[in-house]
Symmetry: C2
Subunit: 416 residues, 2 copies
């Protein structure tokens, strides 16, 4: 089966909101074996929505839309879908009861605009939106289907997982002439080699690869993800064989053989060892801490951090001598080593990582230009430190510093 | 002028990468007075790219593509554009010199695949990609133009700002029958009122609004952004008058009269006062710190943080008595007040914010379910604390906690 996503909202086309929904939906569809052919973002405009629906239905079996379902005037998706599927709005008692229950402790929300949310298209199947007031609507268009979901990411995700995807799977099983392709993606992650050099190493491999297999290079923040994809023509065993061979080819640079975030890989290694970690951050300012505690279960290995943005914090909470900062500079091997060792000791963990760098735009010098970052890792056995040059842009520098910090942590956890 | 964006890459359609480029481009185009009509994401597939180009050229004056320009086999955009514009690749001496210079300290990158990057379409205008090896290509298609940029966000942004946008402005001024519309957006931010209640307050206002003016509601994380937009038909003064009236209507809930991030508003208020801030974070785990130091110039007001994820850190670094945690629980008014006051004193700032909550998925209880978050703000004069219930999902809870923390900080900075 082939799907398309249409995201609806002026805010997407003036850059006020980044469309994160599409990538999330894409991932889920792929897991389900449904190919996502195209993503289209359109305005809250009747003609534009209708044109996008026509185009999507000319290519896809399933059309998923997000957005435009709020109770305010600017949201028109429900009305346009009524027109498109030649139906009209009727009151739905169960949606009404659900909304009354949802807001029973917030009577201020139960006003006449919220009441328009229990008006639904007569010929649509209505699925429950457990966490919001906008009804989930499914329309049948011959053998094709359209599902309309809210644009708020939290609501859309729950709708998709609990209602829309199970519905699609059920529907698919009834339509005998549709069959999910066996879509397979396997991703590995490498570090420490330029993309073009990697491609030269893999030239023979790529030439020998069957045409049903695709290899993609995804460079980001100093890492490269290599993805093997097969759309229905190869078995899992065949793809696995090619994937193992790929792993062998890139072994010296291999960081992970799955598309897991680096902080998850590091966290799992720490949990396996029963070890804990802290951070002391200057230039990364809490970004590394946020990554380490982003995922559920992180309290098993992540204890805490000292964010020492100002030098006084480095002195007072991390015991970095003022004289050392004066002599060596705050972005130096000596300072970052003390930061790491002090965080480990103060916070009482087995490992600690410290960062100190010049994120810019000001603060650079000829010796230490913007982008210079010192990182230290301290472990039960050793303390390591390395200097990196990570580009010119503030966000780029701090993102890459977190990647460097996690890559080396993973390598240390595997070898030490 | 009307533009469309086509983002090219299988990774977008399997959900491996979120398309952040389109929103950024959209914002820039709007600033330039160019309407972005549609965003389309397509596969690295010849037929698909060609179909998307045909459709985009049927609607828009300017087509911007990102992605598919790497040196590896999976990147085909340059070849497809050659076919589409009926041309072929030739070696470009200045692109070659630029790439040789770019990698002069990294001879490992200067291999034969990188050499394919200085092959460019003969009939394209080549603009310099200052930070990467993929050439920026501009094609003319009658009076329409297409610009092709790399997909790596940092490279795309520099390309767009330094090369593509100035080129478009220059080109536009030569084409007398094209004229930029005077696109105007004004956004304000409100907090503390449901979307539907806000819409009821604004009902008369919306009914009286001229049809050339559009009002959009953008709810997120407990805030609502209200955006007034005019596409060419109204003067700045007229839009300003309507915007001032809108501000008056929502005055009790108004947090900001611009679409600035909350941390920028708070940071500017702190800088105006010459005051400094620290954070002590449990459930938000450094997210609030990262926001406060995200933007250039934040070292003027943000000093540092203690991320006390584990209770031992609350006791040891923030002086929260173990007995108090036992008696009141770690998610309590008493604990969060001490955390804030201690962070302020330890880090030596004028203000501090502390968070302690249950981000889930485990750790909830009937009295304190997942989503319960205590926040404290301490100032030169007072300490305030409030309890919030922020939903059920981990990311949602911590994002909303940061919004609550910043909204109240802004209110305190304005009134105290």
């Amino acid at each position: 089966m082939r799907a398309e996503v249409i995201t609806i909202g002026d805010e997407l086309l003036i850059g006020q909101v980044v469309d994160t929904n599409s990538a999330w939906i894409a991932e889920k569809l792929n897991e389900y074996g449904i190919e996502l052919f195209q993503i289209t973002s359109v305005h809250d405009n009747r003609e534009h929505i209708i044109a996008a629906l026509d185009e999507a239905f000319s290519r896809a079996d399933i059309v998923l839309t997000t957005g435009g379902l709020g109770p305010t005037k600017d949201d028109i998706t429900k009305h346009v879908l009524c027109e498109y599927f030649e139906t009209h709005l009727i009151e739905d008692a169960s949606v009404r009861a659900h909304i009354m229950d949802l807001y029973k402790e917030r009577p201020d929300v139960l006003n006449r605009l919220t009441a328009t949310q229990w008006l639904v298209p007569e010929n649509a199947l209505i699925l429950e939106n457990r966490v919001g007031s906008a009804p989930l609507m499914v329309f049948h268009h011959g053998k094709q289907i359209l599902a309309s979901m809210p644009g708020v990411p939290y609501e859309m995700k729950i709708a998709m997982e609990e209602q829309i995807l199970p519905y699609i799977r059920d529907y698919e099983s009834k339509i005998t002439n549709y069959k999910s392709e066996h879509i397979l993606h396997r991703t590995l992650q490498v570090s420490g080699i330029p993309e073009s050099s990697l491609a030269i190493i893999l030239e023979d491999y790529e030439n020998e690869m069957p045409s049903a297999l695709h290899l993609a290079y995804l460079p980001k923040d100093g890492m490269i993800r290599l993805r093997l994809s097969s759309y229905g023509e190869m078995s899992k065993e065949e793809v696995d064989t090619w994937f193992e061979r790929l792993k062998g080819q890139v072994a010296p640079y291999l960081i992970a053989d799955a598309d897991e975030p680096l902080e998850v890989i590091a966290g799992n290694l720490l949990k396996q060892k029963g070890m804990t970690i802290a951070t002391a951050e200057s230039c990364t300012g809490g970004k590394l801490a946020s990554l380490l505690n982003k995922h559920a279960g992180s309290s098993a290995f992540y204890y805490g951090s000292v964010i020492s943005y100002d030098n006084s914090v480095k002195e007072h909470l991390l015991g970095v001598p003022e004289s050392l900062i004066k002599e060596k500079g705050v972005v130096s091997e000596e300072v970052v080593r003390i930061m790491a060792e002090s965080a480990k000791q103060q916070i009482g963990t087995d490992y600690a990582i410290a960062t100190s760098g010049i994120a810019g735009p000001t603060g650079g010098s000829p010796e230490k230009p913007v982008g210079t970052v010192w990182i230290a890792w301290t472990t039960p056995k050793n303390t390591y430190a390395e200097c990196f040059h990570l580009g010119k842009l503030r966000d780029q520098i701090t993102d890459r510093a977190c990647v460097k910090a996690l890559v080396k942590l993973i390598q240390i956890l595997r070898t030490e």
